[in-house]
Symmetry: C2
Subunit: 354 residues, 2 copies
């Protein structure tokens, strides 16, 4: 929490903030009663959920399809049957899961169809608190709640990597009597792209400091964030003395969210959206050109109904042709209902922006 709680301090009084977020996304099974809606959960109940995480709501926006909360550490998005929580710093998102499941059940949702928990490796894992002190600990915690959950490590375990725990009800159904059809599995097209950036350009980051910029909307405009996905209605927040968060939502119920830790020693920017596109190459280029990282990770999830599903491999080939980026790692995974693409890039140009 950039404004309300002192940032983590090393024994040597060295200032540090862990920008890398822990990301939880949970889908509940559609029910026959159309009045059921996670957005019926009251604000005070969400505040209670978030108290287990150690963060607070600092801004709120909504439209007919989605509620979007800016948090003291990152964001929460609530749709009819999908819940997303993304929190940075030393927050403990897994600790709110029991309460979240209880609240969902009270609101008519008793069955989780898909769960994704993911994060990049931390810069300072020793600063985290239980159950987030390591991925093994996080997996053990999740295994107590989800039967047949699977854990993965993409990228190089001893260098830089991205961890994923995923539970899919279709995994369980397929092993039981009677298969379910693909049509049932993939009722809604869905895709998520994340771009996790580090070693960012000092000039690009200077915008997200109150010394240089007076308001969140000014930061949004000067940086060009408002031009990345122009259809988004933006709710932005500029932290004191520095740091920036924004949620964007559009009329289709799609979202985007950006979180910026601008300090040069541990700069980090995350971009995430679920907008449907047939090809994410232009979007990736625009995000990269906006924030000018020294290195970044891209992850794309897409289910079989998604427009992105078939084009992920095209992207994989195309993007590597960008001459000033070196792809240092690339993996793809086929899960029962989703495909996942993971790629890691480092700046390799002659005129390095750093």
């Amino acid at each position: 929490m950039r404004t309300f709680i002192p940032t983590y301090t090393m024994s040597g009084n060295e200032h540090f903030f862990e920008g890398a977020e822990k990301l939880l996304e949970i889908w509940f099974e559609e029910t026959s009663d159309n009045r059921n809606d996670l957005r019926n959960i009251a604000r005070c109940d969400w505040e209670n959920v978030l108290s287990h995480v150690n963060c607070e709501i600092i801004s709120f926006s909504k439209n007919d399809l989605i509620d979007a909360f800016v948090l003291s550490e990152s964001s929460m998005f609530v749709s009819k049957r999908r819940w997303i929580l993304k929190t940075c710093g030393t927050t403990t998102p897994l600790k709110c899961l029991s309460e979240l499941i209880r609240l969902a059940s009270l609101n008519g949702y008793n069955i989780i169809t898909d769960l994704f928990y993911s994060r990049k490796n931390f810069i300072r894992p020793e600063a985290q608190v239980a159950p987030h002190k390591g991925f093994t600990e996080e997996v053990s915690y999740l295994d107590t709640l989800f039967p047949n959950g699977r854990s993965y490590c993409l990228g190089s375990m001893n260098l830089e990597c991205w961890y994923l725990y995923t539970f899919s009800r279709s995994d369980m159904k397929l092993t039981g009597p009677g298969h379910i059809t693909d049509e049932f599995l993939d009722a809604d097209p869905d895709q998520t792209i994340e771009i996790l950036m580090q070693n960012l350009d000092v000039n690009a980051m200077s915008v997200f400091n109150k010394k240089n910029t007076t308001s969140a909307s000014e930061a949004t405009s000067i940086s060009g964030i408002d031009k990345i996905l122009p259809s988004m209605h933006i709710d932005d927040f500029l932290f004191d003395p520095c740091g920036y968060s924004m949620n964007g939502i559009n009329e289709k119920g799609e979202y985007m969210t950006i979180h910026i830790t601008p300090e040069n020693l541990f700069s980090y920017v995350s971009f995430e959206t679920n907008v449907a596109m047939t090809n994410y190459r232009n979007l990736i280029n625009q995000v990269i050109n906006t924030f000018k990282p020294g290195k970044f990770i891209v992850t794309i999830f897409a289910n079989k109904c998604s427009l992105a599903y078939e084009t992920m491999k095209e992207l994989e080939v195309e993007y590597s042709k960008e001459s000033h980026w070196k792809r240092t790692d690339m993996q793809c995974c086929n899960f029962p209902s989703y495909n996942l693409l993971f790629a890691q890039y480092s700046y390799n140009g002659k005129n390095n922006c750093k």
Copy 2:
């Protein structure tokens, strides 16, 4: 070692043998002196190398292009500038690396271009000895020898998985001044397919027991192993009381190797070959039909010159159409000079062979 050393015994006197092998493959840079050849290394020197691993040579075959050793635990293959060591049980292959590097250097090979160390998760990791007590320990050991090595875990870390440590000189060169061209990187087409099988059919395994079969060649013939790749010259060994190993080599310098732990409680069969094929589907089917596993892992490495490189994705799609096998996991990785496909299957048929 099935014949010479007592198998690992649990405190409850339960008989157990870890069939899953540790696999090392090392390529050295071609030298200008064409007389340099790893096959010039003397038998007594190899015996010394293998003493660090805790295994012995029990059979030997060769042709103009490759030397093949059957070991008390699995196999070793030596070509002009490539060395492969595959050992099961509680052997310690990493402990011979320093000696291997010293011997290679004495024979004119000073530069390692590619190194691969891989293994499936052990059934009983607690029975292993240092530095093989865990993948983290193995990585730490390898990191002391290889700068910029990368470690990966394919499959689900908390269920079943396959570990890989890889070092590629091209990784280092690309980060230094001046890029090397693809032509240089991939001078020789190369591919390796491994099929690691568990929960095998009791009848198929009964052939590899001295109670039922009198000789290795009888086991090779009755099982159908000699029909998998008929061009291979086979050197086979039947252990007492049970267990089987074979090496096959052909005139192109290609190899195949099969190792069988037939005991029902911990049955394990590995198949490996580097034969060049445009599509491995028929080969996989033949291997599976020969040994009848309940579940198996396939890994395929192919460099950019390999015929397999472009067809890996085709295989990925095609094989999943086999109705009586359920693909439980699938990942692919793009490394600087190799692509890797990893897939896991479970038997899902009505007439389960188990």
